[in-house]
C-alpha cells in the first residue's frame, strides 16, 4: 500500500472537543493541561488502570493513586481512515486511528499525528503529544518517537 498523504498538514491540527470532566477523572484532565499523562494505579494489585476510574476493576478497592506515565509506547494496531467519519473530521482525512500500548502496560485509543501514514506500522515507537482543547485540558495523541 502506498499513501504519501500527510495526516494533518493542510487542514491544521485534528479536532478536539470538550471532555466530560468528573470527580473521577479530574486528575487525568488536569495533568494533560501540563503535558503529563497521569493514570490511576491500584495500590493493592498494582494495576495501571485505563481508562481512568476511581475503583480498581480487578480487585475493586478504592485505594488507587495517581502516577505519572513515561509517555512512551508502541503501536498495537492502527488504521488509515479515509471515510466514514463525522463532518468535522472530513477535512482532515486521511487520519490514523490507533491503539498504542503504553510502556506501563495499558493499550489506549488515540491518533498518530505528524507522520506520513504510510510509515506507520505495528510495534513502531511513539511518544505522547497533547492537543489543547481550549477547555483547560488536552487530548492525548502520539507521534513517531524522535520526530
Amino acid at each position: 500500500m502506498t499513501d504519501t498523504t500527510p495526516t494533518t498538514d493542510g487542514a491544521g491540527p485534528l479536532p478536539t472537543g470538550e471532555p466530560w470532566v468528573t470527580h473521577e477523572t479530574k486528575p487525568y484532565w488536569d495533568a494533560t493541561a501540563e503535558g503529563r499523562l497521569d493514570l490511576p494505579c491500584c495500590t493493592v494489585c498494582d494495576l495501571v488502570i485505563w481508562y481512568p476510574r476511581a475503583i480498581c476493576p480487578d480487585c475493586h478497592t478504592s485505594e488507587v493513586e495517581w502516577r505519572t506515565m513515561s509517555g512512551r509506547g508502541t503501536v498495537h494496531s492502527f488504521t488509515i481512515t479515509r471515510a466514514g467519519v463525522s463532518r468535522k473530521w472530513r477535512e482532515h482525512l486521511p487520519i490514523v486511528v490507533a491503539y498504542v500500548q503504553l510502556e506501563e502496560g495499558p493499550i489506549v485509543l488515540t491518533n498518530i499525528v505528524d507522520v506520513d501514514p504510510a510509515t506507520v506500522a505495528i510495534d513502531m515507537a511513539v511518544t505522547a503529544v497533547f492537543h489543547d482543547t481550549g477547555h483547560g485540558n488536552a487530548i492525548l495523541r502520539f507521534t513517531a518517537t524522535g520526530s
Binding site: V21, V48, V97, Y99
Partner: protein, 390 residues
C-alpha cells in the same frame, strides 16, 4: 436447569423492503410483529412476553407495548447492540423453561437508509464512562474493525484476499434473494479493488445500510404442539460480554469464545455437527474471527478456513448466511442479529431459496455480535434444531 428444547421458534418475519421512507419506526415494528405472529398462526392477543432492544423508540419496550396494544406480564429490554435479539431468544427460552411465559414476541425495526437516527443515537453514549477517552479520535465503526483486522493480519498472516472470500460467498448467495439490497456476485479482485474506507478494510468488506426489520415468536412446547407450523426447537444458547479490560485490549477475539462453548454444551453438540451457520457479518473480519472463536477452526486459521468456497451453499464445508447476510442482503437498523436467526430458521424448515438450501439441514447455529470488536461487544450464540426432542 437446562432450557434445551423447552422453547421453539414458531414464527419469523423479515421485512421485505430495504428502503422505507414512508413509514415510522414503530409502524415497522408493528408490521414485522404481525408478520411473525401470522407465520406462527398466532395473534397479538396470544403474546404474554415482549422483548426489544435499543432500536425500539422512546421508552423502549414500555413505549412499544403500549403502541402495539400488547397485554404482557413479562418484559425484557436487554440491549447488547446487534446481538440483542439472540440474547432475547435465550432469555425467552429460559423464561419458558421456568414456566413463566408461553408466547414471546421479539421485534427489531429501523430506517437508517432513509436518514433515521441510529438506535439510541449519540446521546445514548455521551454519558458513558469511556466516552471522553474514546470519542475524540475520529473513530468510526469501521475504524475499530479495521484495527482488529490489521492486528489479526499481523499476528496470524491473514490477508485481505482471505477476508474478500467471505464477501464473495455472501454475494453468491444474495443473487438468489429477490429482496437483497445487493444482488450482484462479486469476485475477490472486485473486493480488493473497491475503495479503501479504513485500511485494510474496503467498501466491499462492509455491510449494507438498510431500512427494515424483523420479528421472532418463541413459544413453549405446549403451544408449539398446537400449531400447524414447523416449529424450531432452541437446543442451546450462550451470551457473553467483552470489554477493554482496563487497557488490556484484545483485538483478535470476541466473546464468542464464551458464548459458543456454552451454547454447544447446552445443546450437547460440537461445531462439526453444524450443517448451516448464520454468522454476524457487520464486516468480513467479524465473520473470520467469529468462526475461529466458535471453534470451527483453530485461532488464527480463519483465513485458511474460508478459502475454496468453504462458506458457499449448498455444498461448502460450512454454508453461511444464505440470505446474503448483512454484507449483501439486509442490515436493518444497523443490527444484523435478527436476520441471522430468521435465515437459520428458514434453513431448518427447508424454506431457504432452493439454490442455497442445505440438503438435509438438521442443526443450525446463529451468532450475533453487537457493539465494537475494538472496544466492548456482546456475543450471543444459538443452536437450533430441525426436530423437537420429545
Amino acid at each position: 436447569m437446562t432450557t434445551s428444547g423447552a422453547a421453539h421458534i414458531a414464527g419469523v418475519y423479515e421485512h421485505p423492503l430495504r428502503s422505507i421512507p414512508d413509514k415510522t419506526v414503530p409502524q415497522i415494528h408493528a408490521e414485522v410483529a404481525i408478520g411473525a405472529l401470522a407465520d406462527a398462526g398466532l395473534t397479538m392477543a396470544d403474546v404474554d412476553a415482549y422483548y426489544s432492544a435499543g432500536d425500539a423508540p422512546g421508552f423502549g419496550a414500555l413505549s412499544m407495548i403500549d403502541y402495539l396494544g400488547l397485554d404482557v406480564h413479562h418484559v425484557d429490554d436487554t440491549e447488547t447492540g446487534g446481538s440483542s435479539y439472540l440474547v432475547h431468544v435465550r432469555h425467552a427460552a429460559q423464561a419458558i423453561a421456568a414456566g413463566h411465559i408461553d408466547v414471546a414476541l421479539i421485534t427489531l425495526a429501523g430506517n437508517p437508509r432513509s436518514g433515521g437516527s441510529g438506535p439510541g443515537g449519540s446521546a445514548r453514549f455521551a454519558d458513558a464512562p469511556e466516552a471522553s477517552f474514546e470519542n475524540f479520535f475520529g473513530m468510526g465503526i469501521i475504524s475499530g474493525y479495521a484495527m482488529a483486522a490489521r492486528r489479526h493480519m499481523y499476528e496470524f498472516g491473514t490477508t485481505s484476499a482471505d477476508l474478500a472470500e467471505i464477501k464473495v460467498a455472501a454475494s453468491t448467495h444474495a443473487q438468489h434473494n429477490p429482496d437483497a439490497f445487493l444482488r450482484d456476485v462479486v469476485t475477490v479482485d472486485q473486493v480488493l479493488e473497491s475503495r479503501l474506507i479504513s485500511d485494510p478494510l474496503h467498501l466491499l468488506d462492509a455491510c449494507v445500510v438498510t431500512d427494515g426489520g424483523g420479528a421472532l415468536v418463541v413459544v413453549s412446547e405446549d403451544v408449539a404442539r398446537q400449531l400447524d407450523r414447523h416449529t424450531i426447537p432452541v437446543l442451546g444458547g450462550g451470551e457473553a460480554i467483552k470489554g477493554t479490560r482496563a487497557g488490556r485490549v484484545d483485538l483478535t477475539h470476541t466473546a464468542a469464545v464464551v458464548s459458543g462453548p456454552a451454547a454447544f454444551a447446552e445443546a450437547g453438540v460440537t461445531p462439526a455437527d453444524i450443517d448451516y451457520a448464520s454468522i454476524y457479518d457487520s464486516f468480513t473480519i467479524t465473520v473470520l474471527v467469529t468462526l475461529e472463536d466458535l471453534g470451527f477452526c483453530e485461532k488464527g486459521k480463519g483465513g485458511e478456513f474460508v478459502r475454496d468456497g468453504a462458506l458457499q451453499a449448498p455444498f461448502g464445508r460450512l454454508p453461511f448466511n444464505t440470505d446474503g447476510g448483512g454484507l449483501c442482503n439486509n442490515h436493518p437498523a444497523n443490527r444484523g442479529g435478527m436476520t441471522k436467526v430468521i435465515e437459520a430458521v428458514r434453513q431448518l424448515r427447508g424454506e431457504a431459496h432452493p439454490a442455497v438450501q442445505v440438503p438435509d439441514c438438521e442443526l443450525a447455529l446463529a451468532h450475533g455480535t453487537g457493539g465494537s470488536m475494538a472496544t466492548r461487544l456482546g456475543s450471543a450464540t444459538l443452536i437450533l434444531g430441525r426436530e423437537a426432542r420429545r
